[in-house]
């Protein structure tokens, strides 16, 4: 019976069943969740897409980015600009009027089209990541120095967005959206549609990331995490791989930002600042880095905890988050998924656990991440 349960093929089947059940639960959520809860879940799932991208660059490649708020924000602003133009209906967006702008700035014009806005919401974060990666990874700036640079990127971007009030809406950001595709943004049908679109995009992002980490590309990424120099002496250029992973990760954050704006109806510089950027890392750390499911679970679980805690005790949340991070770092280096992998074998036959060095299947399931 043990053999049957843990044989690779059976394990695969269970995994597949688990994924199918999760997808079914997500797709049917509009049937059993209130509008308010559904909207919250939609937001969490958008965050899960950021977490997937972060796991790719941090969990698999070993590069810690504390600047993903920027990529998320750029995507969000791209969508926000489109929605703002749609709400203005051919006139200037309201905040531009207040700032004395008389003509729509040239860089706003392309966002009139939904398709172009979506494209730019993906390409701009990816291009910025490539740009930053080009100057850092190629010059072998890594570890904590790279992380500090990503924080600098956050400060620069936030300062820029606040300072250019006439073009970005300043501290208030962009809000007051009304329409998408000519339909009301607040209607039930639209909300359900946007929720389902988010589920589909999340599944797509998950499948993409899974493909990436299973491909030879993903193996090279993990090899870079273990020994960047060794990879170099095998004839690979680690900088190219790091740039590619960073750009894909940024593009996913941009996509998440676009969905976020559609669900929440506002984007402001504070949502792409330092604290949100660090929170994004916590989702992955607590969910379990180096495991894609962990990133999704971490993002949803932490944001669920955040919204329920801050509903009743808003002042406690940050303490809770800090405490949780310490606990996770000290006791759960593998996060929630790592914990599950540690506990799992305890329920199996005792000798099987002792046997793990010889039993390839148990070894697989025991693998620390």
């Amino acid at each position: 019976m043990l053999q049957a349960l843990t044989a690779p093929r059976t394990r695969k089947l269970w995994l597949l069943l688990g994924y199918a059940a999760a997808a079914a639960a997500l797709f049917s959520a509009p049937l059993y969740l209130s509008d308010f809860r559904l909207n919250l879940l939609a937001k969490f799932l958008a965050f899960a897409i950021v977490a997937l991208g972060l796991d790719l660059i941090w969990g698999y490649t070993g590069i810690l980015s504390l600047g993903h708020g920027v990529f998320f924000g750029l995507g969000a602003y791209a969508m926000g600009m489109h929605l703002k133009l749609a709400a203005a209906g051919g006139r200037l967006p309201d905040f531009m009027d207040w700032s004395g702008v008389t003509k729509l700035p040239w860089f706003w014009a392309p966002f009139e089209s939904f398709g172009v806005a979506v494209l730019l919401g993906i390409l701009i974060p990816a291009a910025l990541a490539l740009f930053l990666g080009f100057f850092t990874f190629r010059n072998r700036i890594r570890g904590v120095y790279f992380t500090i640079l990503t924080q600098a990127l956050v400060i620069i971007t936030v300062t820029l967005f606040i300072g250019q009030q006439a073009y970005t809406g300043g501290t208030n950001g962009l809000t007051g959206f009304t329409k998408l595709f000519g339909q009301g943004l607040k209607t039930d049908g639209m909300k359900t549609g946007l929720y389902l679109a988010t589920v589909i995009v999340l599944i797509g992002a998950f499948v993409l990331c899974r493909y990436l980490v299973k491909s030879r590309f993903g193996k090279v990424l993990r090899a870079i995490r273990d020994g960047e120099n060794r990879v170099r002496f095998l004839g690979f250029d680690p900088a190219m791989y790091q740039m590619a992973a960073f750009a894909i990760s940024a593009a996913l954050a941009g996509i998440a930002g676009m969905l976020f704006v559609l669900h929440v109806g506002i984007i402001s510089p504070s949502m792409m600042a330092i604290v949100p950027s660090i929170e994004m890392i916590l989702w992955v750390a607590i969910g379990g880095r180096g495991a894609l499911v962990g990133a999704v679970i971490g993002a949803v679980a932490l944001n669920y905890a955040k919204s329920s805690l801050s509903e009743s005790y808003p002042e406690i949340w940050t303490f809770f988050l800090g405490g949780l991070f310490i606990v996770a770092t000290v006791f759960l280096p593998g996060g929630i998924v790592g914990l599950a992998k540690q506990i799992g074998p305890l329920f199996r036959r005792k000798e099987a656990v002792h046997d793990q060095a010889l039993n390839p299947v148990l070894r697989e399931s025991n693998r620390s991440v």
Binding site: R222, A223, R230, L234, P238, A357
Partner: protein
Amino acid sequence: MTKPSILSCEKVTVAFDGFKAVQGMDLALQPGELRFLIGPNGAGKTTMLDVVCGKVKPVSGKVTFHAKSGSIDITKRKEHKIAELGIGRKFQTPSIFAGLTVEENLEIAMSQNRGVWAALRTTAMKKAERERIDAELSLIGLGDQRALRAGRLSHGQKQWLEIGMMLLQEPEILLLDEPVAGMTDKETEKTGELLQEIVRKRTVVVVEHDMAFVRNFASKVTVMHEGKLLKEGTMDEVQRDDRVAEVYLGRRRDVDAVG
């Protein structure tokens, strides 16, 4: 020099913060040669390997790789380009990828298109690739450990895995830094056999301290001392040389006598 060399280092000088680790060193390798690089600690042996694989750039001197496609100045290339050209390097400490399985380590090391696009498109191994890896696994004797994370291997197994990785990389010139350091006698013996296998097909430079191990191979020995070439010749010639005895073998005898 009768045959054209595959690699020639001329008057190579390397300085670290003013300290000259290598001073005007010459080294020429014939295709298919097995060359041992010996010398006391701090003689600059490892630094010479670093120069050839591009890890360290010399302040002066020329390093030319005479590849099939033409002569290439190594000092102007980046490390990954040099590796791609066909110069492989094994470092002193086993540097395998601990988080990857034994098989995945070999898959990454295998000579292949190493661009990002090619890696993105590759999901499963081709039949020919699988066969190469299977053959390598049986050669290095790690067939049973193929699905094991490489971090869990013993010290000796890690060294063999790395040698296997080097073989699959198929370099024209292979640079090995103390391949038997820290090994048991039995492991050393097996490594010696693997080396014989490696040497059959390519040019190899080995930095080694273990004189008994070096004597197993009838090949040319280059002795370095204080960053310079001291003597080049067969093991017998080197051992008969007075200067070598003084700086290296002599000192070694003293150490042996004390120990």
